[in-house]
Amino acid sequence: MTAWLDGVELARGIEEAVPGSVESSNATAVWVRPERLHDVAARLKQAEAWDFEYLNAITAVDYVEYFEVIYHLTSMRINQACIIKVKCWGRDEPSLPSVVDLWQGADLQEREIYDLMGVVFTGHPSLRRLLLWEGYIGHPLRRDYLEEPLPYSWPHGG
């Protein structure tokens, strides 16, 4: 059985490894400050006791006031997993540091989040739309995405 790490305990460990990085924590997850996300991710991947070498998924949830980006991490060696969350404020250009240099698997997922939610990952080697086409207006998974039909935005057709 995969052991899901207790958020409060994990938060203590993260705070020790990267001081000033934890925002809050509860039983299941740790909220990390966006500007320290990359440092925390690097420590989680490299530290012997955590060894989170596998990134399961990156999810973004739009809570209107802020975006919450959720990282599911797994250590296959120890068979443990944890949930790291980041609050990302602002609607015009919310941004987070990219973790592609740590986990190659984040590449397509970060592009997908940029495409559908509009969260910008700084440091991503090629942040382009993934599922929708270049020139598409808006980010459809946002809660305030327009409901009326959009102006036709296919660049070459129509």
């Binding site: 059985m1 070498e53 990134l55 998924a57 698997g105 590449d107 397509l108 993934l130």
Partner: protein
């Protein structure tokens, strides 16, 4: 005098018969050698995650069928497990066994499609594919008995399955379990020693385990590299903790290992189904769960299963209404594409379609 060549970029797809759906690869060649590969997709994007926000928890099941449409049962299962975690529903014993039987049959069906199309890509036109489809047909007929549908099954519900198996399902399953090992041996005998298959797949499309882990790869592709990671073992769901089975792994991570791991997994799936048939208890197939229900506000749950293609996860967020506030689908097919260029670069043009076929992706799941 050496010939001087210039790299050329070619679009393969979106409409190419061997790309298993509408998928495009932007490939740069130097002569016949592949220098760079970039996957381009989204042609089948239907916005399943957005659509899920406007349907109630039970209605979303029909959307999950249409993700990986050659493995609908496991999609249902992953979603139902996520909803059960979210709303605190305890599925019935019989329901869980029926889910595992359906999911393992689906795994066999999906791996048969993967194997058949791999041979199709190798140039063995239609005949081996039909051999694989012959047995898959029997599985689909059993699904028809269970729920009336063959592909888009919508068989499972939070709390179990929507109806118990009919009486004629069990004899059909017994005959299938008797016939299938012999059939797999036949397939094994036909393919495993075949010189063309060995020549075209051995040491082609090699994936290193550290790249696979770093690239979040899961499923048979990950196991073919020698990493023994199967969610059914590592984080058992439903009743997998009561069942004995092995996790087959490869050693080199090439096309051959991916094919071989799938073949062995089909044998293990048969073992699992046999044990389920022996263990299945009497009782209701589904817990009393209303069609419309409201999980607690603010609840979040990540439910995952080992789908035929890899780790399929649903991340659900509830706001206390009848519909999910957010329904994220962690699709194994899309994330397995992260390593597409790693397994293709350095090989020849002729290996491209074979290697791509051996990754066994499904566009319905990639694009969602």
């Amino acid at each position: 005098m050496a010939t001087r060549t210039e790299p050329i970029t070619v679009n393969i797809g979106p409409q190419h018969p061997s790309t298993h759906g509408v998928f495009r690869m932007r490939v740069t060649f130097d002569g016949e050698d592949i220098l760079n590969v970039e996957p381009v997709f989204g042609y089948l994007h239907r916005g399943s995650e957005k659509l899920a926000e406007e349907r109630n928890y039970t209605q979303v099941i029909t959307l999950t069928d249409r993700l990986d449409y050659v493995a609908s049962q496991t999609n249902n299962q992953a979603y139902c497990i996520a909803v059960e975690k979210l709303a605190g529903i305890q599925p019935t014993e019989r329901g869980m066994y029926l889910r595992v039987i359906a999911a393992e049959l689906q795994r066999i069906a999906s791996h048969l499609v993967a194997t058949g199309f791999l041979l199709q890509d190798l140039g063995a036109f239609a005949t081996p594919l039909m051999y694989c489809f012959r047995e898959r047909e029997r599985i689909l007929e059993m699904f028809e008995m269970l729920c009336g549908a063959r592909i888009t099954v919508s068989y499972m519900r939070p709390g179990g399955v929507f109806q118990d198996a009919p009486e004629d399902f069990w004899p059909a399953l017994t005959t299938f379990l008797e016939d299938m090992p012999g059939y797999l041996d036949e397939l094994d005998m036909l393919l495993t020693g075949n010189e063309i298959i060995v020549g075209r797949t051995f040491d082609v499309g090699v994936l290193k385990p550290e790249i696979a882990i770093n690239g979040s790869v899961s499923g048979p592709i990950l196991r073919s590299t020698g990493v023994r990671w199967d969610i059914r073992k590592a984080d058992p769901y439903d009743i997998y903790d009561r069942i004995e089975f092995d996790v087959p792994i490869g050693t080199r991570g090439d096309n051959w290992d991916r094919y071989k791991v799938r073949l062995e997994e089909m044998r293990q799936s048969l073992r699992i189904v046999e044990q389920c048939v022996a263990q299945i208890p009497e009782g209701p197939a589904r817990a009393e769960v209303p069609f419309v229900f409201r999980p607690p506000a603010g609840a979040e749950a990540y439910g995952r299963v080992e789908a035929p293609k890899g780790e399929l996860g649903f991340y659900l967020v509830s706001d206390g209404t009848i519909a999910p506030y957010r329904c994220k689908i962690r699709s194994p097919s899309m994330i397995n594409l992260s390593v597409l260029s790693d397994i293709l670069v350095g090989y020849k043009l002729a290996d491209l379609i074979v290697t791509f076929g051996s990754t066994d992706i499904n566009m319905g799941e990639v694009d969602r």
